[in-house]
């Protein structure tokens, strides 16, 4: 089990995470979901003992990760956002190096090697230099180094980042296989990825936990609120975001307006509303002499829940 209590991390004076408290049970697959900068990577790096928390405690498999990081590192396999690869090494030599670093004997690594190559489907490139491999294969080598020592806990930070659609499907299948033998923690901002892979979600926003539970739990807890997304062409103004936000926030029924992001040549705003107010929103936008590019409900339940949770956090900040 992983138990984090009042975990916080500051970079200088800036809060990157926390305080957050959560538990992850053995055998679970938990998704850390959040926008860029939400604190996902910071949380996972702390769990992997790559970072020391500024405050709070963390126990991994009953061992205190702050006072005994060495013991915790033996229990964990970590794939960071950028796989930690030595491009001058061939795949098997690199995996031997990673295994031995984690305390395995040479004989044990050699015994484990065929299994790792099979699980990660690296057999055809086993004797190739890592520098010659495609991005998809490099990502697989990154997973292989994380599982070579058969860790109890597997932490994967954005494992599908930069992969093409075929590689994403392959990586998803690989993660499904890994779930059989490991407690898996995955971070992603791709909602479909998380929803298809994880048993439980932990939604992070601005360093705080906004929601915990299965996709259904999260959706149920927010069922009374509706979700409208509106895309508006960026007007020529000193503060276009502020101008549009002001117009949208004034619409009857709008509870909160999330931080916008650019999409399709305009700014996409996610609105938490107490009723279906698409007609009011379109009228307000047109009356403000703004160009309305798109108006819709969020596409899926999880997406809707996620945007609402994050939007709520933005509104409260």
């Amino acid at each position: 089990m992983i138990r984090a209590t009042n975990l916080s991390k500051f970079y200088g004076g800036k809060r990157a995470l926390g305080p957050v408290t959560f538990e992850i049970n053995d055998g679970e697959t938990v998704g850390f979901l959040g926008l860029n900068g939400a604190g996902k990577t910071t949380a996972l790096r702390i769990l992997a003992c790559d970072l020391r928390p500024s405050a709070g405690t963390i126990e991994v498999g009953g061992v205190d990760a702050v006072t005994e990081p060495h013991e915790v590192r033996k229990l964990i396999g970590f794939l960071p956002e950028n796989p930690p690869l030595y491009t001058d090494m061939i795949v098997t030599d690199y995996l031997r190096f990673a295994g031995e670093l984690r305390g395995m004997t040479k004989a044990a690594v050699n015994r484990r090697m065929p299994d790792v190559l099979e699980i990660t489907d690296l057999g055809e490139v086993a004797n190739d230099p890592i520098g010659n491999l495609s991005h998809g294969f490099r990502q697989r080598v990154g997973v292989a180094q994380a599982i070579v020592h058969e860790p109890k806990f597997l932490i994967l930070d954005e494992p599908t980042r930069g992969l093409d659609p075929v590689q994403i499907v392959e990586m998803r299948n690989l993660i499904h296989d890994l779930k059989q033998n490991h407690t898996v923690l995955i971070s992603s901002h791709i909602l479909t990825e998380i929803s298809q892979t994880c048993d439980r979600l932990l939604v992070l926003g601005r360093g705080k936990i906004l929601g915990v539970g299965s996709e259904q739990d999260l959706a149920a807890s927010e069922s009374e609120i509706r979700q409208v997304t509106v895309t508006v062409r960026v007007p020529i103004s000193d503060d276009p975001k502020g101008q549009i936000r002001g117009v949208l926030a004034a619409v009857d029924g709008v509870k909160s307006v999330a931080e916008p992001y650019e999409q399709g040549g305009g700014l996409l705003f996610a609105l938490s509303t107490t009723k279906d107010c698409r007609a009011d929103v379109s009228r307000a936008v047109v009356q403000a002499k703004l160009d309305l590019l798109k108006l819709d409900y969020a596409r899926s339940e999880l997406e809707s829940t996620f945007i609402r949770l994050v939007g709520g956090a933005d509104a409260s900040n």
């Binding site: 060495h70 590192r73 970590f78 001058d88 670093l101």
Partner: protein
């Protein structure tokens, strides 16, 4: 010890596999060879003087090679994100530093060994003792260990390899020429500054002349230890940032 050995083998393999290490070795040996052939062996000289000059010019190998072989050791790991593998493995920072340092020292020693043909030529054609040669090489080895430790510290400071190289080179240059400053100040500061000089005082007045002084050995060992300790502490501090 096991972790040191694992990191040592990987790092030494990188030097031996990549053209980087061999290109540096070739350039250093070429420069040292030209300097020795053109300057140390020019004119009729006593063979002991020729050997002394040889060791003077050959000290460029550990001075420059030490920096060139070490500046990338840690900065490159951070730049390529491979440091995460070491940081999330049950390995101490001191083991990372020692493994990398010993690998670089081994490769530098290989370069020094490849230059041995020159003193052999001097011995064949003149009158020098084997002890003189051994003391000189021991000095080069200790000087190399110190410059490597300084370079490793520079490498621990930043992930920018160029900055690491410049900082390391600056530290080695300052410590090598600080005797110039010592000459301009009064005692007891003069003696104090002289004693931290990396090249002139502890190498030129001792090992280069075939004289083995315990204080010079202690100085180089202490300097190496000091900068390795600084590297370890820097790594520890950065690991938790």
């Amino acid at each position: 010890m096991r972790a040191i050995s694992i990191i040592y083998r990987r790092e030494l393999g990188t030097y031996l596999r990549s053209p980087f290490g061999w290109v540096i070795a070739a350039i250093l040996l070429l420069i040292a060879g030209f300097l020795c052939q053109g300057l140390a062996m020019s004119g009729e000289q006593l063979s002991a003087i020729v050997l002394e000059r040889y060791f003077n010019y050959t000290s460029s190998i550990p001075l420059f090679g030490g920096v060139l072989l070490s500046f990338r050791l840690l900065s490159e790991e951070r730049q390529n994100h491979s440091m995460v593998l070491l940081n999330t493995s049950p390995v101490r920072d001191s083991e990372i530093v020692l493994g990398k340092f010993l690998a670089a020292l081994t490769f530098l020693s290989i370069i020094l060994l490849l230059s041995v043909y020159m003193p052999i030529m001097i011995k064949v054609n003149g009158k020098i003792t084997t002890a003189q040669v051994l003391v000189g090489y021991f000095g080069l080895f200790l000087l190399g260990a110190s410059t490597l430790a300084i370079g490793l510290f520079g490498s621990a400071l930043t992930k920018q390899q160029l900055i690491a190289a410049v900082v390391s080179a600056a530290m080695v240059a300052i410590l090598s020429f600080i005797h110039i400053l010592a000459a301009r100040v009064d005692p007891p500061l003069k003696e104090a500054i002289e004693q931290i000089d990396l090249w002139w005082i502890h190498y030129q007045y001792g090992f280069m002349k075939g004289v083995l002084n315990l204080k010079d050995v202690v100085y180089y060992v202490a300097t190496t230890y000091f900068f390795l300790l600084l590297s370890t502490k820097t790594l520890e501090a950065k690991r938790w940032q």
